[in-house]
Amino acid sequence: MGFFRKQRYLIDFTLSSLSRRKGKNLGLLLVYALIVFMLASVMLFTHALRKEAGIILQDSPEIILQRMVAGRHALIPADYLDRIGRLRGVSEKQGRLWGYFYDPAVKANYTMMVAEQHELTTTQVIVGAGIARTRGIGIGDYITFRSYDSQAFSFQVVDILDANSELVSADLVLMSEQAYRRTFGVPEGYFTDLVLKVRNPREVRKVAEKLSLKLPDTRPILREEILRTYDSIFAWRQGIVFVLLAGAVLAFVIFAWDKASGLSAEEKREIGILKAVGWETSDVLRMKFWEGAIISLTAFIFGYLAAYAHVFYASASLFDPVLKGWAVLYPEFQPIPFIDGLQLATLFFFTVFPYTVATIIPIWRASITDPDAVMR
């Protein structure tokens, strides 16, 4: 019982010690929490983006086949579908029509695509939420696109794509095949690329190899490669933000190191008094350990919770221009709340642990010195 009472007295003293240096400790807590907030926001958000991309790509075709001419992506003739023939493992194959359209009105690129699952007439379109927001249009309104030969065509917006898929659909325009061919001048019998569904994921690479052999002027792109690309893009963007934040982190490290490694005369004197009145070195260390742990843990919890709210409830509004990276039509979407244990542990290890240890070293130095020398 005496042991537990002693720990309670030490924690009581620690809390009283923290409240005695309110200004200094609050300042430290604030800066510390801000750093954790920024780092955790970037980590949570990029992780959520990767996860989101993974979920969205889940239902996409396993293989995209593009025709290459002089190293460039070119239109692919429809008879390539017949030339593929019957490949073991391929459950479905079809041509796809898509492209980019530059809208000078808002200085943004749209992704135009033929709607496979929607019955649209030649004057109807479905647009992404980003376009609807930027152009200020809703269902029933008209939108005009200028075709490859400078003719203007008006389309009625019959639907707006679900905001849940906004990460990939913000800039999307879905139209009929006829309207698409007319807008871009793509002749009948040609597609932008072909898509193939493979039932068994283990056969995907084998099918891709066979495609390359059968159609040497084509390039198969696997879904897993797209996922990997997304992954590295988000990792790269995360890295960029970390570099941008490095200055702030460095300032904090210097600040924390200064605070942690140097004791003020008042703090040294206090340690001397405690030792003189009968506190053991371990008591002083434990008390100071609690002090460091309370500050760093509180800052970590506040910073992390604020980052969680920022990312999952405010859509990471501070970082989205850098992390999402769309030119103009930033998608507005609510990432699915998710915490990665390893990520949390890494952040904890690189913030709470070094601070607590750095705090202990100078205290240990002061507390192993004779109390008389410390007080002098």
């Binding site: 009472r5 002693k6 009283s16 008042e266 008094i273 506190w279």
Partner: protein
């Protein structure tokens, strides 16, 4: 408890250009349940000698005995144990912890022992009552007068009921009236069976009838020992 010093020497900054011999071979025997006063000018080595007796620092050479126990050479952990149970300190500048209340300062030495909170509070209140500090219990120590801070310092020194009280220049920051009051308290503590060791160059202290013995130091050496 008898305290014996055998050829104690203390040197600061040994081997450096600013090397300084604060104590140059002092042997002394301090009888229990008496008030002994170390007298001497500033820099004579009084505080250094007191801090070695009270296990706040270690001698460079020589032996310090507390009863049958050899103190010099004991590891820090054991010195802390002895300091905690045997000695109570009253410092020249009181050394109270600023920002804490009178009550918290008094209870501080007892925390590492982990006593029951109720009994610790009871002991602290009893001491505050005895030293006329009850009304100041919740006041922060920086708001106290010199005399009050001195009494808080005495209460803190007594909270673990030590056998030996060490007071370093206790009247240096007090006026004549408060100094007399302090010596009256010392006399009272002596009568209760405490061994008291005071360092001072204040005649009000070393000429006080409460003091049983005066030992004079000069330049780190013992020059006079009078009962």
């Amino acid at each position: 408890m008898l305290i014996e010093l055998h050829d104690i020497k203390k040197v600061f900054n040994q081997g450096r250009p600013n090397e300084f011999w604060a104590i140059q071979g002092i042997s002394l025997r301090i009888e229990p349940k008496q008030v002994s006063c170390l007298k001497g000018a500033s820099g004579s080595g009084k505080t250094t000698l007191l801090s070695m007796i009270g296990c706040l620092s270690r001698p460079t050479s020589g032996r310090i005995m507390l009863g049958e126990q050899l103190l010099s050479g004991l590891p820090e952990r054991f010195l802390t144990e002895i300091r905690r149970h045997t000695f109570g300190f009253i410092f020249q500048r009181f050394n109270l912890i600023q920002g804490m209340t009178v009550l918290e300062n008094i209870m501080l030495p007892a925390y590492p022992l982990g006593p029951r909170h109720a009994s610790l509070l009871d002991a602290a209140h009893r001491l505050m009552g005895h030293f006329n500090l009850s009304s100041k219990a919740e006041n922060r120590v920086e708001w106290l007068s010199g005399g009050e801070a001195q009494r808080v310092s005495i209460c803190r020194a007594l909270i673990n009921d030590p056998d030996i009280l060490i007071a370093d220049e206790p009247t240096a920051n007090l006026d004549t009236k408060l100094s007399r009051e302090f010596m009256a308290l010392i006399d009272e503590l002596r009568q209760s069976g405490k061994t008291i060791l005071i360092s001072s160059h204040d005649p009000l202290v070393f000429e006080s009838p409460a003091v049983n013995r005066v030992v004079e130091l000069r330049d780190g050496q013992l020059v006079r020992d009078a009962d």
